[in-house]
Subunit: 252 residues, 2 copies
């Protein structure tokens, strides 16, 4: 039986230390789901491992069985675990995980992210975003262009060193994806955006954005505004390649 971590839960004479395990404003079950999801994604529980029983685990966490169960349902919904009577709840193999679920991505990046996974997401980005720029060039309307232009202005006003600047960057890419009129692409941005965001902060932490990204963005905008799918796609491809280059360079 692969047991949890500290099972040293001794119900000795009432010295229960302040039962307030809710670290943040998240609801209790959310905190549990977060904790468990983090532990699973970070490999603390390997695929195939079976968690200790509901009663034991919930008591170890000092929460009710209901709260623990609801947290497990969340993980089940995201494909991380599976539970059957008598067999217990076991961690599923990685290929069953909903790796594009925003929460799962967030958990994957909360610890020490797997290099392979980062590469996967950036490769996906390099595939999807140029194609999205092409579609956007064909389908954008006036409102889309205004949203992109506003985002660019905000990027220039604040730099990428500020939180507002990062938000503007995200908004620019989101506006492009919305302009594709493709819901599936928009949803993908939620997952990809998490990866991009993490690496951007990472680059910033390891000193200096080596390049001014604004001209690249403007080229993308110009292509989309002109309705030139080829130019927009090429410009976006260049932008993503440069970002990947910078990230790779900053990671040594």
């Amino acid at each position: 039986m692969t047991n949890a971590k500290g099972e040293a839960d001794a119900p000795e004479s009432g010295k229960t230390p302040a039962r307030q395990p809710r670290g943040t404003g998240r609801r209790l079950r959310g905190a549990i789901a977060h904790k468990l999801g983090l532990a699973i994604v970070s490999g603390e529980y390997a695929p195939g491992d079976t968690l200790s029983g509901e009663i034991a685990f919930s008591e170890a966490l000092d929460v009710s069985r209901s709260a623990y169960r609801e947290a497990v349902q969340v993980l089940t919904a995201k494909g991380l675990v599976e539970s059957r009577p008598k067999a217990g709840t076991r961690v599923l193999p990685r290929n069953r995980w909903n790796l594009l679920d925003p929460d799962v991505v967030a958990w994957a990046f909360a610890g020490s992210p797997d290099i392979q996974f980062i590469r996967s997401l950036f490769e996906l980005r390099a595939i999807v975003e140029p194609a999205a720029a092409r579609l956007a060039a064909e389908r954008r309307d006036r409102a889309d262009l205004k949203a992109m232009k506003d985002a660019l202005a905000a990027m220039r006003r604040h730099t990428l060193a500020t939180e507002a600047g990062l938000a503007a960057d995200r908004e620019f890419h989101d506006a492009i994806l919305r302009a594709t009129r493709n819901d599936a692409l928009v949803v993908l941005s939620a997952s990809i955006g998490a990866a991009v965001n993490w690496t951007t902060q990472f680059k910033q932490r390891s000193r200096a954005l080596p390049r001014d990204p604004l001209p690249d963005h403007i080229r993308v905008y110009d292509g989309i505004a002109a309705g030139d799918a080829e130019a927009a796609g090429a410009a976006m491809r260049a932008l993503v390649d440069l970002a990947l280059e910078d990230t790779r360079h900053a990671m040594e």
Copy 2:
């Protein structure tokens, strides 16, 4: 293969379970989540609507509040609803839904699928699969090629009119995605595959697959086996375009 439900489960003959008439295919909370998810995705509850309270709803469904709540947690995990004290449980706007979650996709296709959404997924497929073929051409090893070849052989043996043939088709595309060594792409296939599967069955229902898809598949395989990324990508693009053409043609 992510469709773990099997809708047309025959109710057990003779033994009519009068006590728990709630659909007894999955676990109870799974049935509730399925029912609610279907109702939300199909538009029965519009975004912004607030569901009736837990006690009322659970009694209306004739289940305990715990089971109902666990079902709602599943929907919350998939971004379909959000619940806050006093405010109740409300349906979130579409752009908050995890549209790439396998279950959500399954629910979307269980009813009368939204044409726009089908178009979105096929557009995504047209973007992702050719790029995947290019990557596979560069990274495949002997085992990958064997898997593809076996799948092709199975496709020829059984035709696409049989279930085994459809499975072989899926396996061929899955083998390509696995050969990219990119987990994010593999996961995408789960969602895209659901759409492809549905439309394939649709085409079959509405009379005749008008074209033999095998030569197109073989061209893709040849490109990958030769390590020719450009050829593999072009062949896959042609394949997807033809499939989209057929689907569009069959939908009038």
